[in-house]
């Protein structure tokens, strides 16, 4: 039986009706209609679905959407300010952090969470934080470089 709820995604409240077992990823992609977050492994290994839940990272494929009611959900669509990309997004483009792009939404969210928690991480700390995000193009060097560039304030 579907249960009515309100999901707040990127600051916008969306009234939804969801089966209890619906994942946050399925709710945001299929019901809310924001398809930035990706389904990779669908069992919490790859991080392509990563979102922020009240600022903290969550693998949304393995989190029940109804549990997110009352929380602020942030997806990759919420990182830019209109057409103005976030410094991290700009750095990913400048440092070759984007190849096929499938892992990019999760990488950006994961790195956003890292920098909020630890504004000046070492390369090792970046690697540890992003190790829950798999890039099957194996483009990790550019991604780590991009995160470090933002943490050192040289992205612009």
């Amino acid at each position: 039986m579907k249960i009515p709820a309100t999901l707040t995604v990127n600051g916008v409240p969306y009234p939804v009706e969801l089966e209890p077992g619906t994942s946050l990823l399925a709710a945001v992609r299929d019901v809310v209609g924001l398809t930035g977050a990706k389904e990779g492994c669908d069992d919490s290994e790859c991080g392509a679905c990563m979102m922020l839940l009240d600022g903290r990272p969550v693998n949304s494929c393995s989190y029940l959407a109804l549990q997110a009611e009352g929380s602020e959900v942030t997806t990759v669509e919420g990182l830019a300010d209109g057409d103005q990309l976030s410094p991290l997004q700009t750095a990913f483009l400048e440092h070759g952090g984007v190849q096929c792009g499938f892992c990019t939404p999760g990488m950006l969210i994961s790195a956003t969470a890292l920098l909020a928690d630890c504004p000046a991480p070492s390369a090792d700390e970046v690697g540890i934080a992003l190790s829950g995000n798999l890039c099957r193009c194996t483009g990790y060097a550019g991604i780590v470089k991009a995160v470090l560039a933002v943490s050192r304030g040289t992205a612009d």
Partner: protein, 298 residues
């Protein structure tokens, strides 16, 4: 995975317990229950009660006797807590290496314990640090040690209407150091292939108390009395550390699975136990070994 028919969100322990009494199963961070359903291990229960909004279960606080962890305290909160890092360092070692940062941000100590994996990182430190848990149902409350709670892979003594409310850690004696080390194939998104915990207290240069535990080496995480005896009363020297590490290996009854063979686990048991004991001794002596200990030497 939409088999679940009923879903409610509890905001108080009483609401959660009433839902459990009516047959619902609890969900907090979802990092075992929901992931398990995605992987096909077990479907989601017919009725769920979400307990993540029960604010009284989120606290880390302490008094003169013990550090108190509410059941909903996350791995990330434990790993970052200054008192845990300073005095219950083995638990910080363990909490800092659970899953990825998304797992640590959502996964809770209560869920971790009640999932009862013999490879869970926090179990060895909790057992060796003498932690107790509080289980509550509409019928009453009972306390027990973590050792008593865990009865086998995925099994605990708790009945379905009981909720783990809290974990309490008695303050270690002055001169105590502890460490948790795991054998890992990668540093994150990993679970112990083999793990070991050591908690040692030094008094006048001698080991006055020792606790050694093994993880992913038996159906439950367990202490190794022979290893503890080998250390207790020693200087400590290389011979006593070696004897303790070998005792930990001798107490191992590992399985073969996709992650390691029984032989490999047995062979690595002494290596990992030795590292845990050595790091605990350095910490007990006032030396600084960064958390997580598993990263040392990598």
């Amino acid at each position: 995975m939409s088999a679940t028919a009923q879903f409610a969100t509890a905001t108080t322990v009483e609401e959660a317990l009433a839902a459990l009494a009516a047959g619902a199963r609890p969900v907090a961070g979802g990092t075992d229950l929901v992931v398990g359903a995605r992987q096909g291990k077990a479907p989601l229960p017919d009725a769920l009660v979400a307990i993540h909004r029960v604010s009284e279960l989120h606290a880390i606080d302490g008094d003169a006797d013990a550090l108190h962890l509410g059941a909903l305290v996350t791995h990330a909160e434990i790993a970052a807590h200054p008192d845990v890092r300073a005095r219950f360092t083995a638990l910080a070692d363990a909490s800092a290496i659970v899953g990825s940062h998304a797992t640590r941000a959502q996964g809770t100590i209560g869920g971790n314990l009640m999932n009862a994996s013999p490879a869970m990182e926090a179990g060895g430190p909790l057992i060796c640090l003498g932690a107790t848990v509080t289980l509550r149902s509409t019928g009453g409350t009972r306390d027990m040690t973590v050792e008593e709670l865990l009865t086998g892979p995925g099994a605990t003594v708790a009945s379905n209407d009981e909720l783990l409310i809290a974990v309490d850690l008695p303050h270690p004696a002055p001169g105590t150091g502890s460490a948790y080390v795991r054998l890992e194939y990668r540093r994150q998104m990993e679970i112990a292939v083999v793990g070991a915990t050591a908690v040692v207290t030094l008094a006048d240069g001698e080991v006055s108390q020792a606790r050694v535990g093994i993880t992913a080496l038996a159906p439950t995480i367990r202490r190794v009395p022979a290893a503890e005896e080998a250390l207790t009363g020693s200087a400590p020297d290389e011979a006593s550390v070696e004897a303790a590490a070998r005792a930990a290996a001798a107490a191992s009854v590992p399985i073969s699975d996709v992650r390691a063979s029984e032989r490999y686990r047995r062979a690595m048991a002494a290596v990992i136990a030795r590292r845990a004991i050595q790091i605990a001794l350095v910490r007990a002596g006032g030396g600084d070994v960064p958390v997580p200990a598993s990263a040392v030497g990598q």
